[in-house]
Each structure stands twice: as C-alpha cells, then as structure tokens.
Subunit: 182 residues, 2 copies
C-alpha cells in the first residue's frame, strides 16, 4: 500500500526540522550514512577521544574518564579510491571564521594528508546566516600563511570555498564538490 | 659526543623488551609513529568508542560512561596516495585464528573498503609462537565463504598471508608488505 500524501508530509517536516537547527555534525553523519547505504563512499566520524581512568569490576562501566584533545580530524574515509579527511565547525559569527576553532595540530594533519595525495578540507557552517561552505586545506592555509590574521573573512571563504546547498538526502552533498575537482 | 656502546646496548634491550611482551597494539602504534615522523605514511589508531552518560559541571570529567562496539576497524590512514584500513588481533592459539575475534560488521567494512579501491587487511599475532602475519581481506574472506569454519588455520595464513618480521624501528614494518602489492 502507498500513502503518498503521508510520505510527502513527513519529508517536508524533515526538511523544515533540518532548517531550524539540526547541527552540522548530525547533517554530516546523516549524509555519510546516505553515502554508505548507497555505496557511494565509506566515510565515518571518528569516536571522541576519551581516556578511561576507572572502570568497574565487570569492565563495562567507566566511572571516571576525561575528554582528550583529538590528534587528527573528526572525519575520514574513502571516495572513488581517494583518501578523504576533513574537520567540520560551526560559528555564530556573521562575518568571519575564527581560526582558533581548529587546533594547530589538526591543520598540520590536514596539510600532511595533502602531501600524501589525499583530499583534505574543512566544512564551515555560519549558523547565523545558515550557510555552509567547504574550503580546501591549501586555500585556507594560504590565507593564514600570507596574512597575520586570527580569522578568515566570510568574503574570502565565499571566493575560495564552495557553498554546500541544503538538500533532502543527502542533507549536505559535500561529495558533489569533490567531484568538481577530481 | 658518541656513545656507540651505550646506544647499542639500549637498542638491544628495547628489542628484547619487544620480544617479551609488548602488545601488538603498542607495536603498531610505535610503527605508525615512525611512519609519521619520517613522512612515510599518515596512519592512526581510532579512539575507542565510549558513550559518555554523565559529565560533571565543568564538562571535563566524565563520571559515567560505557564502551561501545566499534562500527569500523581500529586503524586507517593514507600511504602513497592509497587509503589504508585494517584491524589487528592477537590470539594465544598455536594453530588457528578464531574468526569471532572480529565483528561481522568489521568484515563488511573491510570488504567495502576493497570495493571502493582501498587497501584492507588484518594483522594477526600468534602470541604463543611470537609470529605476526598480514592477510588481505579478499584472502581471508574467501576462506570463510568457501569453508564453513569458525577459525582460519595457521597453515592457511602462512600460505595466503605475509609474515611481518620483528624490527627495531619500525617495530613491525607492515607497509613493506603493501609495497609488494602496489
């Protein structure tokens, strides 16, 4: 049996929900799920690094643990035979992306990936204006190496980066941008 | 100033320490460190997935958390432009590797990586005989798909896999085996 009206309604409310405040992380996770289920790419978010200090006798429950600073980025995987590696960040600023949102060793990591023939980038969402961009590592690294600044202006990201349009499924189709450079 | 004798001594004791019970995980981590520092490859162990349930007011200390089943494998990264993905396991058995050491969804993940053009494998250490092997996914998957068995005999791993010799630095030079198939 088909319930086209019901289905359409549920799609619509999903999109609306997406627009009124799904986080960038959940949008990326849901897109990665779509890529995985449709055999397009295999990209995962890495677990948050946590150091377990005290574990109970059954070795299942941890009673004392601490968050650790990640050594690398949040996401990596494979697409069309290429190694993919990126970090994703949201900012409430309407005009620029503060670079201290990304750890220095994460930038070193992204540069290493480029040097080894991988594809590396960051995805930045400006939550106040609801726009999401992808900018490749070499483009934002160039900016910091040429300018003594603490943030990247939105205008620079608009010029050198790529806007990721909202969609239904995948919610943010960032691999479309990778296609354009392959 | 050079202290060749001292240096030689410390190398030797390191190797001996390695032989008398460094875990496979620490051997791989130290090898990955060597690869990273010498700009050979960028391969990391993923953090153990832990679900934090209760976090204290400062959001730094976790007071209740649980281990989760990993969705993928422990290690991934990039080498010579290729996506690398593997799982590493020790067994005390002298004759075979029990397949229930690896989750079924991890095997599905390794097969996916192969299908997308990556290089995937498992590293198995037989601790009782102190031998470490690398076997590519297609070779051990073939075995399970053709035989209704719950473990892979050591003899099969010796035939289809590659032995990884102990070294000083890197302790286990598994990328040498990748070179042989590239």
């Amino acid at each position: 049996m088909n319930y086209p009206n019901k289905k359409e309604h549920s799609n619509k409310s999903y999109i609306e929900y997406g627009k009124r405040g799904m986080t960038l992380e959940s949008d990326i996770n849901s897109s990665n799920n779509y890529y995985l289920e449709n055999d397009i790419a295999v990209i995962y978010k890495k677990p948050t690094p946590i150091k377990a200090v005290k574990v109970n006798y059954s070795r299942t429950k941890i009673t004392e643990a601490y968050y650790e600073i990640p050594s690398t980025t949040d996401y990596n995987g494979i697409y069309k035979g290429k190694y993919i590696d990126f970090e994703a960040k949201e900012t409430r600023s309407k005009t620029s992306f503060p670079i201290n949102n990304i750890h220095k060793h994460q930038i070193i990591h992204l540069k290493r990936i480029d040097n080894h023939g991988g594809i590396s980038f960051i995805i930045i969402r400006f939550t106040s204006i609801n726009k999401t961009y992808l900018i490749f590592t070499k483009d934002f690294v160039d900016y910091f190496e040429q300018n003594d600044k603490k943030s990247i202006p939105l205008s620079y990201i608009e010029e050198k980066g790529y806007i990721i349009k909202d969609g239904y499924n995948p919610v943010i189709d960032y691999l479309k941008i990778i296609d354009s450079i392959l």
